[in-house]
């Protein structure tokens, strides 16, 4: 089983985490209907480095994992809003 590092609780087994989908930034409210529909309904399945939401269930911590979906290697994890800090 994989290990994942929660930015708050450290490295824990994957069974403690819940995947929350890709982290995507919503377009501004004044975007076109087509732009909004694309944001809501379309996902890119192409492999590569993605930012993903992960939830550490026992502690209730949401964080972002930067993961290469091709190699399944997690580059780093951080709390949303603390992108800059390591």
């Amino acid at each position: 089983m994989k290990l994942l590092t929660c930015p708050v609780n450290g490295t824990r087994p994957l069974s403690e985490f819940v995947f929350g989908g890709e982290y995507r930034v919503a377009p501004p409210a004044d975007c076109t209907d087509a732009e909004w529909a694309a944001y809501v309904h379309n996902r890119s399945g192409a492999p590569g480095i993605k930012n993903e939401w992960w939830y550490h269930a026992p502690s209730g911590t949401w964080f972002i994992a930067e993961r290469n979906t091709l190699t399944d290697k997690v580059m780093r994890t951080y709390l949303k809003g603390q992108e800059g800090s390591k």
Binding site: M1, K2, L3, V18, G20, A26, A29, C31, D33, W36, A37, Y39, V40, H41, W53, Y55, G60, W62, D72, L79, K80, G81
Partner: protein
């Protein structure tokens, strides 16, 4: 006739304890420490199994846990591997793959008709006509497979242990022991696992006629034992590699899941058989198998043998045979320059002749094919890969030791993602690029000489320690052996075949050639067509030769063929080791025992056990539920709602958070009031609903249904991460029990217990206050979910049972009855409440359920708002309506999900339906086309039988239709 030698140094057997057992009905004895096979072989038994397909007699091949032709049953367990399983007193064993015993197997005739059964025969012969296939399938299935599963096998729970270590070393031979010692010197936690009953690997049996290996083993064992931080686990195999260095280590009594910081694979190599006619006759075995018999069990493999070799290893085997007093009739070496080397000279001094540039062309079996009579030796043309039969010599012997080379035990390396390359010096696949934290040492790394194996282990340990972060100096690398340890093509063609490549599946050389001709010339396709490597030994002795043959057939280098995918588990592992405990956690409400005492029948709602109804002796389920409903409608009912989600939102931004999260408006909500909440997702689909109770300017108390509560709380946390508002979220679901008292007499039940006024003016619908009931502080909420007069009490969990009893006591004289979730669903339906998840699906938007009133579209933003703006521009496709069947309808009852049909076309579906005694009609919700959603519109529901049932759109406040 005993083949047991006098006491040998280092033997595994304990001669002071005899073990009695039976095999195929005949009594045998061996010693404690014997494997089943060694005890039988010592007693002169050479036919211990029958082969899978042709039912040929088989004996020892590898003695390395893949002698899969010797599989036994004791009546309880099946497919017991005789080469490694210790013999025990009283065992009554039989070979598995026979019809009528291993000696007189009735299926042995199949060997003589084998030319009629080429690979692929079954696929082709029985493919058509299709209707006959079940007949053939029955016969084939009986013929295929080995042991018979005992369906009366008891369930034996095997424990699972979890362990962590810094360095895990797999394989305790020379390089593994050396690696464990070097890593252990650092003081870190080291685990060393080995599948054999005793550690030491080849040091324990591959002696080459000297004491060098045995002395080295003694030295390494002493070193490893001197380190308390090195844990040695024998008789345990590393079964697979999983991400981030998780290795299941399987022992006889369970599995250890080892998480390591670094892994050193010192797993060694599997000896590979050369391929020649009759290489499967009992008495023909791998050189390492002969050595294991000699040095572990002190049993003679044969008394006058021929060594067939293609590497220097064969000469070590010959020396060991001579040391044990076994006659070596000749050494036959495929290599043309062998007889001039020093190894041949050493043997010559002991009177053993080396025949180089030659091969064993065929083995002549004895009359019953139960042993070796002689071998025919011929010159071998290394260019054409053919025996030159004009110069045949026959040598009498009773056994053959085969030493043609090795295949690395690299299964776990492959699983970890190691890139391998074919090394033309050692003629073996060796690791080229190892993944981070994985290291290889010893034979699996192409290193064969004793001293170098020790060095290679130490080097791998130094790298592992550096990987962990210790400043250990890096030791210089050890190159793979520059003399070939394996022959590049140890295959001797023979017109009559029976030159086996895969002993599990009886696959001969011609089968590969035919497969390639048929177009299956990719290794993965060839594997599936011929079934090479698909038997119980999973290709451990056959895949390498298969690759070499395919490379030759296609005329490409070996590395272009590649290998088949290596998957966990590395070795067959009993299902009992994998089975879990069936752990399904569920939550009980604080009132569970109370419910139980009242005769509750529980149902699963999300993770919770909730009371579905309260059983009344002599009453049917339907009548029980209707009686519970009637109590609520005419007197009062009480339900345990403790599983409801309860979340507190604290802080100055609490109202703002709710405004953004839900569709409604909360900033101006008065303290002490409750408001409806509806949650959408970003695409505008209805996810959940509930109530927001404002307890203070900066404190909202949210309650919602049972099943979605955890997911909704999780979403709140996620959005809060993004919004970073000045709030705190607390999930208090478990901190409060909740009970609802509903019905016309509810106020009367409670009025004597609470310290606040329950008058309509003081406590109107949709209000909340903090009160005391029987001295216990509770949150008292007026809700309208199941009846117009319902009080919901949220009680601190520890006091829940006390309050429940007090309420029950107060209500007893008034006819207060407990009701469960079945009645609750009917009650809410009568009240006209549509429920997300029941009356909506994963595509339903709020407009379709008539929830426009819950949308505050003038707010700056809320989840799903932008999508609603788009949805609102489009015409609705369907709309949820309340309906009733005609009064007095007595026909077939439609069910949820029955379709609404108009003019033969599907228009919608029923989402809720039930007979309401209160209303006197069958009532429900259904989706219909917007054109037909007006009150009094008629539509038809297609019931299960196909009958069309007429329904009328009515006001959702069903209760107003009361007769």
């Amino acid at each position: 006739m005993s083949a047991r030698l006098a006491k040998q140094k280092g033997e595994w057997i304990n001669r002071s304890t005899a073990v009695k057992f039976s095999f195929e009905g005949k009594e045998f004895s061996g010693f404690e420490g014997d494997s089943i096979t060694s005890a039988l072989w010592a007693s002169g038994e050479q036919v211990i199994g029958r082969s899978f397909k042709y039912h040929r007699p088989r004996g020892i091949l590898s003695f390395a846990n893949h002698d899969v032709n010797i599989m036994l049953t004791d009546g309880m367990d099946t497919n017991i591997r005789g080469d490694v399983v210790p013999v025990r007193n009283g065992m009554a064993l039989e070979a598995v793959n026979t019809d009528g015993g291993v000696k007189k197997d009735k299926n042995r005739f199949i060997d003589s008709i084998s030319p009629l059964l080429p690979v692929g025969f079954y696929y082709k012969a029985f493919h058509t006509p299709r209707k006959l296939f079940p007949f053939w399938e029955n016969i084939i299935r009986k013929a295929a497979g080995l042991g018979v599963v005992n369906f009366n096998y008891p369930r034996i729970l095997k424990r699972k242990k979890h362990r962590h270590c810094d360095v895990l070393v797999i394989g305790a031979g020379a390089s593994g022991l050396s690696a464990a010692y070097e890593a252990g010197k650092s003081g870190l936690r080291v685990m060393l696992v080995d599948e054999n009953l005793q550690i030491g690997g080849s040091l324990g049996f591959d002696w080459g006629g000297t004491q060098e290996a045995a002395n080295l083993l003694k030295d390494l064992l002493a070193k490893v034992e001197s380190l308390p931080n090195v844990e040695v686990i024998a008789a345990a195999y590393a079964a697979g590699y999983y991400p981030d260095h998780l290795i299941p280590v399987v022992t006889a009594d369970g599995m250890i899941k080892v998480r390591a910081n670094a892994v050193i694979m010192a797993s060694g190599a599997f000896e590979q058989p050369p391929v020649f006619r009759n290489n499967d006759i009992p008495g023909v075995m791998l050189g390492s198998a002969a050595q294991r018999l000699l040095h572990r069990y002190s049993v003679k493999p044969f008394s006058n043998g021929v060594v067939f070799t293609a590497n220097d290893y064969g000469y070590r085997v010959a020396q060991d045979l001579l040391e044990a007093g076994i006659k070596v009739a000749a050494v036959v070496d495929l290599r043309s320059d062998a007889k001039d080397g020093p190894l041949a000279a050493q043997l010559a001094r002991r009177g053993v002749k080396t025949i180089s540039g030659s091969c064993i062309y065929e083995v002549q079996p004895n009359a019953g094919k139960t042993g070796v009579k002689s071998v025919t030796v011929a010159e071998y043309d290394e260019k054409l890969n053919e025996a030159l039969t004009r110069s045949k010599v026959t040598i009498d012997c009773d056994g053959v030791a085969m030493c043609a080379g090795w295949a690395p035990a690299a299964n776990l390396l492959y699983q970890a993602g190691t890139a391998m390359r074919y090394d033309y010096g050692v003629h073996q696949f060796v690791p080229n690029k190892l993944p981070a934290g994985i290291f290889a040492a010893g034979r699996v790394n192409g290193v064969y000489a004793l001293e170098q194996k020790v060095q290679d282990g130490a080097r791998a340990a130094s790298l592992a320690l550096r990987h962990i972060g210790l400043g250990t100096p890096e030791l210089s690398s050890v190159s793979p052996s520059n003399t070939a340890q394996s022959h590049e093509y140890p295959v001797v063609p023979h017109p009559k075949g029976k030159n086996f490549v895969d002993f599990d599946e009886d696959i001969q050389v011609k089968d590969f050639i035919n497969a390639a001709k048929e177009g299956f010339d990719n290794i993965e396709l060839m594997k599936r067509f011929t079934t090479v490597g698909m038997g119980p030994s999973q290709g451990k002795h056959s895949n390498m030769n298969a690759i070499r043959i395919l490379a030759r057939v296609r005329g490409v280098p070996v590395e272009q063929i590649g290998t088949t995918t290596s998957r966990p588990f590395f070795h067959p592992t009993p299902i009992g080791h994998l089975g879990g405990r069936g752990f399904h956690p569920h939550r009980l409400t604080p009132l569970h025992d109370m419910n139980h005492k009242l005769g509750a029948v529980f149902t699963d709602v999300g993770a919770w056990k909730r009371a579905a109804y309260y059983q009344v002796p002599g009453l049917s389920l339907a009548d029980t539920v209707l009686a519970e409903v009637e109590a609520v409608r005419t007197k009062a009912g009480i339900i345990d709602s403790s599983s409801f989600g309860k979340i507190e939102v604290h802080g100055p931004d609490a109202a703002l958070f709710l405004e953004r999260f839900f569709t409604g408006s909360y900033s101006v909500q008065p303290v002490g009031s409750s408001r409806y909440t509806m949650l959408l997702d970003e695409s505008g689909v209805v996810i959940d609903d509930g109530l927001a109770h404002r307890l203070a300017d900066d404190l909202f108390y949210l309650s919602s249904g049972t099943s979605n509560a955890a997911a909704v709380y999780r979403e709140m946390q996620r959005w809060q991460q993004m919004w970073q508002l000045d709030i705190g979220l607390v999930n208090v679901t478990g901190s409060y029990a909740a009970i609802n008292i509903a019905g016309p007499l509810a106020r009367q039940v409670l009025s004597g217990l609470v310290n606040v006024s329950l008058d309509e003016s003081a406590m109107p619908a949709q209000s909340i206050c903090e009160a005391e009931i029987a001295g216990v502080p509770v949150r008292l909420i007026r809700v309208v979910f199941v009846s117009d007069t319902t009080y919901e009490l949220h009680i601190p969990t520890p006091q829940a049972a006390f309050v429940w009893e007090r309420v029950m006591g107060a209500g007893h004289a008034l006819g207060l009855k407990p009701f469960g979730t079945d009645a609750q669903r009917l009650l809410r339906l009568e009240m006209g409440h549509a429920m997300p998840g029941i009356d909506t699906d994963g595509l339903t938007n709020p407009y379709e359920i008539g929830a426009d009133h819950a949308l505050s579209l003038d707010k700056p933003d809320f989840i799903g708002k932008r999508s609603l703006q788009i949805i609102a521009k489009r015409p609705l496709k369907k709309i949820l309506v309340a309906f009733a069947l005609d009064a007095g309808y007595a026909g077939e009852m439609p069910f949820e999900c029955n379709l609404v049909i108009r003019d033969g076309e599907i228009e919608g579906r029923v989402t809720s339906i039930a007979y309401s005694r209160t209303v006197g009609r069958v009532i429900g919700f259904a989706y219909v086309a917007p054109d037909h959603s007006a009150l009094e519109s008629r539509f038809q529901i297609r019931a299960d039988s196909g009958a069309l049932v007429s329904a009328t759109v009515v006001s959702s406040h069903f209760i107003a239709m009361q007769k």
